[in-house]
Symmetry: C2
Subunit: 214 residues, 2 copies
């Protein structure tokens, strides 16, 4: 039932449905899985494959990536340094709301700067932010070049391209590092699922072998 | 399993966990309940009370209101006409993502302009946007003045205050109109729950009487 709370000059209506109650209803905790790494490292592929496994395990999930953010919520932003910072800030704020809603947020953005990632981490409680470094050598990413972006960046068509003309600042203490440059997708998914289970972030008794990638 | 799809020059990794699969997992549909009305009409109170009932019925819900949006995602925005429009746009985009995540979004903002509300409606599929007009006479809202804002607006301390120095454009064809100026909170909640059940938006067999406000 909504209660009215009075505090100094402010009156507001308390939210009685809390994150805790939502987590009980869902049967699992919520948290942010923040994938960071070079373009082409496999962040989005890993996030979506992991989401598939988590969904099969009965978890509520949502992946934020360029496809659903850059055209919508951040559609007003360009690629200047300021706009990129604002982009990451909004993704952080949105992820914070999503975990408040009881949903596991998976974010797949290069997010090359330590300070930007640190700011997002500071938005939420300890344990709510799981930084996953998708490590792949620049040479590997450039060889893959799935979107043809490296070629364009080398040709000078894309300014401030991470790894080419703008730095990527490796995480110093990520919760997890996955070797997306050399390991298979299945192995990477298994590694993340194992970590989540060890740290009590999966539904009780979840059988991760049955639900990892076949 | 993640699939790679190739379309002209773009390669991306398909999201296999869809809104439809999330709705099946949750046992209910997702949609936006967009509460609009004057300051003090009772939007936030109704949204939170309704959320309590929906949660008890087993629904995943999230309320967006000034408390969790103005300090976070929209913390960079002021109260100019442009900023207010951008505020509503972002809330719309965020609600779109939340329903994509399978969660029922309840938004409690004055949102005084038809054009802003129309834009949000146009962001999502027909049926995803349920506009609920919380109707209360200005005199009633001003008498309540729970936040003391009307008094400050009358004193000229708050410019462009809806109902005083800025217009409120009533919805012309809202999905629902609730008389929050005169009906009890319980009656308003019951009315909305009844509408949601009639339109197939509650879990099958939901007993709304047992879960309405006592």
């Amino acid at each position: 039932m909504s209660e009215i709370i009075r505090s100094s000059n402010t009156t507001w209506h308390q939210a009685t449905v809390t994150r805790g109650r939502r987590e009980v209803l869902n049967g699992h905790k919520s948290y942010i899985l923040w994938f960071t790494g070079l373009s082409g490292a496999g962040k989005s592929t890993l996030a979506h494959a992991l989401e598939e496994s988590l969904h099969r395990l009965g978890c509520r999930t949502f992946v934020f990536d360029g496809d659903n953010v850059r055209h919508g919520l951040c559609g007003d932003l360009g690629f200047s340094a300021d706009d990129r910072q604002e982009n990451i800030r909004r993704i952080g704020e949105m992820s914070k709301l999503i975990i408040e809603a009881g949903v596991i947020a998976l974010t797949a953005f290069i997010s090359p700067f330590r300070e930007d990632r640190r700011r997002v981490r500071a938005l939420v409680a300890p344990g709510d932010f799981v930084e996953i470094y998708c490590r792949a050598d620049l040479a590997v990413c450039e060889r893959r070049d799935v979107k043809g972006l490296y070629q364009r960046a080398r040709a000078g068509e894309i300014p401030d391209f991470t790894g080419i003309s703008s730095p990527y600042e490796e995480p110093e203490q990520p919760e997890l590092m996955v070797d997306t440059g050399s390991d298979t997708l299945a192995a990477c998914v298994e590694q993340v699922l194992g970590y989540l289970q060890q740290t009590g972030r999966l539904p009780e008794g979840a059988d991760i072998r049955a639900h990892a990638l076949a």
